[in-house]
């Protein structure tokens, strides 16, 4: 696939999540005979969304940060949930505010792509009611279906992942993505297993560089390796390794740059909104 003139992306920094490192990396520091009880490591990872500027389709957002109320003290999440992965966010870090940083409003969005329906990726959805984008929400059928089932067995939340209310945001029309496909000229959907039954990753052939957005299929550069390190929070560990291999092939073919979704080190070296990468 060819790079597309006028295709650009901007990285939206949508707050910080703190959690035990063992969630991102399986058994990061186990006890041993000589050091049987090492302390857990607590760290802070960014949450990001990506704004895509497409020469024909206009603005599209990939993932949407968290919902108002899901931050620490906001009351949106259970106490236990907030204990495991507290969200810290500045007022200008909500996804819609990040768009404004780029001079874009939700009215300007032509579509929303949600990689997977975990709570920290869908925040923008409550901001787009009545807009064009509300008719064009792209989700993974496998992930969305799985999340629906788990939250609708008895109308409840799956701790730290799928929340019932996030599936009931009014006024949205979803498009179910089932397999790898070209979404628009220069933008490919790739299905990635592991973190959930099926995440939508993006391959974006921007004007000067191909970018891969694996979303939570690969949390950080360290998970990607080599050697690949499976996260502690994982739906399908073998699927994770298959996703890594799939991404390596694409990375090689296009000399692509991968932007990881929860990587504090990588984000420190990237320019965020309103800057656009070509």
């Amino acid at each position: 696939m060819k790079n597309v003139k006028g295709l650009e992306i901007s990285i939206l920094h949508t707050g910080w999540i703190e959690n035990d490192k063992a969630i991102n990396f399986l058994l990061p520091k186990t006890g041993t005979k000589s050091n049987p009880t090492p302390l857990a490591e607590w760290w802070r990872v960014p949450s990001i969304a990506v704004l895509i500027k497409h020469p024909e389709a206009g603005y599209i957002i990939f993932d949407g940060g968290s919902r108002r109320g899901d931050e620490v003290g906001g009351g949106g999440r259970s106490r236990r949930d907030e204990q495991i992965a507290p969200l810290y966010i500045e007022e200008d870090q909500w996804a819609d505010k990040q768009l404004e940083k780029c001079g874009v409003t939700v009215q300007d969005l032509s579509a929303v792509i949600i990689s997977h329906f975990h709570w920290d990726h869908i925040g923008i959805l409550e901001c787009i009611q009545g807009t064009k984008a509300a008719q064009n929400v792209y989700v993974s059928k496998k992930d969305f279906g799985y999340g629906l089932v788990e939250t609708h067995i008895k109308k409840s939340d799956v701790p730290t992942t799928y929340f019932y209310r996030n599936f009931e945001i009014p006024g949205l029309t979803y498009h179910y993505v089932e397999e790898d496909m070209e979404f628009l000229p220069g933008i490919e959907f790739i299905m990635l297993e592991g973190h959930t039954p099926g995440i939508i990753g993006l391959v974006i052939h921007a004007e000067e560089q191909t970018y891969i957005l694996p979303s939570d299929a690969i949390y950080t550069a360290k998970n990607y390796g080599p050697p690949a390190i499976v996260p502690g929070l994982i739906y399908d560990s073998l699927g994770f390794f298959r996703s890594v291999e799939k991404l390596r092939k694409i990375e090689k073919e296009y000399h692509a740059k991968i932007i990881f979704p929860h990587d504090p080190d990588q984000l420190a070296g990237l320019k965020t909104a309103p800057y656009f990468y070509k």
């Binding site: 035990d20 058994l27 520091k29 005979k33 049987p36 302390l39 857990a40 502690g232 399908d236 073998l238």
Partner: protein, 278 residues
């Protein structure tokens, strides 16, 4: 399924091992917002084998523990750091059979190996040239996995597979391709997760009671749940979930009791050799 009058079994304790609990059960000492750096939990778990007495097939061992000197210098030092083996000479299978059951190695007729990790397969080394050594049942898939892992490089070690355990002299393996009734009242079932194919045993005892031995597919009652909790040491997390479902179904069907392989809590509630469950 055949209920065979006269089938009974005894639980043989084969020493203990210390390790980080997270290998067995993930998330038990996870940091939280209020307590971000809890210490790892270092705990002690038993190792066991099962002796089945069958009216037709004779004395059948399910698993065999470690081979001589696994607690001293047969295995690499790195393993001793992560999983210090607390066995003494008397904790090996040959001594335990003699001391607890007054049984010699020659009186064993067959061995069923749940999986080829060193703490389950090693004891087969006691049966070189003996009757039971010519009747060692193992899953074909597990056998292939272990051979591939131990023949990839000169170390002869692949994870918890040890080349020497697969190549004792005068041993003959019998490969199991699918779930089957090996002897009347003794079923073996394939369980995915801990390894690609761990053989669990379903034992329909003379009293009418059915016992299920999942071996390391489910380390402890904590893993079994509900809710099921994946181990840190697991090859296939999705497979683990499927295994729990498979076991739930069998447990319900037969009103069975599940006997876990490395459960420091359950072992205290069970009677061990010389006691026989009938």
């Amino acid at each position: 399924m055949t209920t065979m009058s006269g089938i009974k079994f005894s639980i043989i304790e084969l020493g203990e091992v210390d390790n980080d609990q997270a290998w067995n059960v993930t998330g038990m000492a996870l940091g939280t917002k209020d307590n971000p750096n809890p210490p790892a939990v270092w705990w002690r778990v038993p190792m066991i084998a099962i002796l089945v007495q069958h009216p037709e097939a004779g004395n059948i061992l399910y698993d065999s523990g470690n081979y001589l000197n696994n607690n001293i210098d047969r295995l690499p030092q790195a393993l001793q750091e992560d999983f210090p083996n607390l066995m003494t000479r008397k904790d090996y299978l040959d001594v335990q059979l003699k001391e607890k059951l007054n049984m010699s190695l020659d009186e064993i007729d067959a061995i069923i190996i749940s999986h080829a990790h060193f703490d389950h397969l090693g004891g087969v080394g006691f049966f070189s040239g003996k009757k039971a050594g010519q009747n060692v049942y193992i899953s074909r898939k597990e056998f292939e996995t272990a051979l591939l892992a131990t023949h990839q490089n000169p170390s002869g070690l692949g994870g918890a597979y040890f080349k020497g355990d697969l190549e004792f002299p005068d041993i003959e393996f019998k490969l199991v391709d699918e779930d089957t009734e090996l002897f009347p009242g003794i079923e073996v079932i394939h369980l995915v997760g801990h390894t690609p194919a761990t053989l669990g045993m379903v034992l329909h005892c003379g009293s009418g009671q059915t016992y299920i031995f999942p071996s390391d597919a489910v380390y402890t009652s904590l893993n079994y749940g509900p809710p099921a909790i994946a181990p840190g040491l697991v090859a296939d997390t999705l497979g683990f979930s499927n295994t729990i479902r498979k076991l739930n179904k069998l447990e319900k069907k037969y009103n069975a009791k599940v006997v876990f392989p490395h459960d420091p809590i359950q072992i205290k509630q069970m009677k061990t050799a010389p006691y026989f469950y009938e």
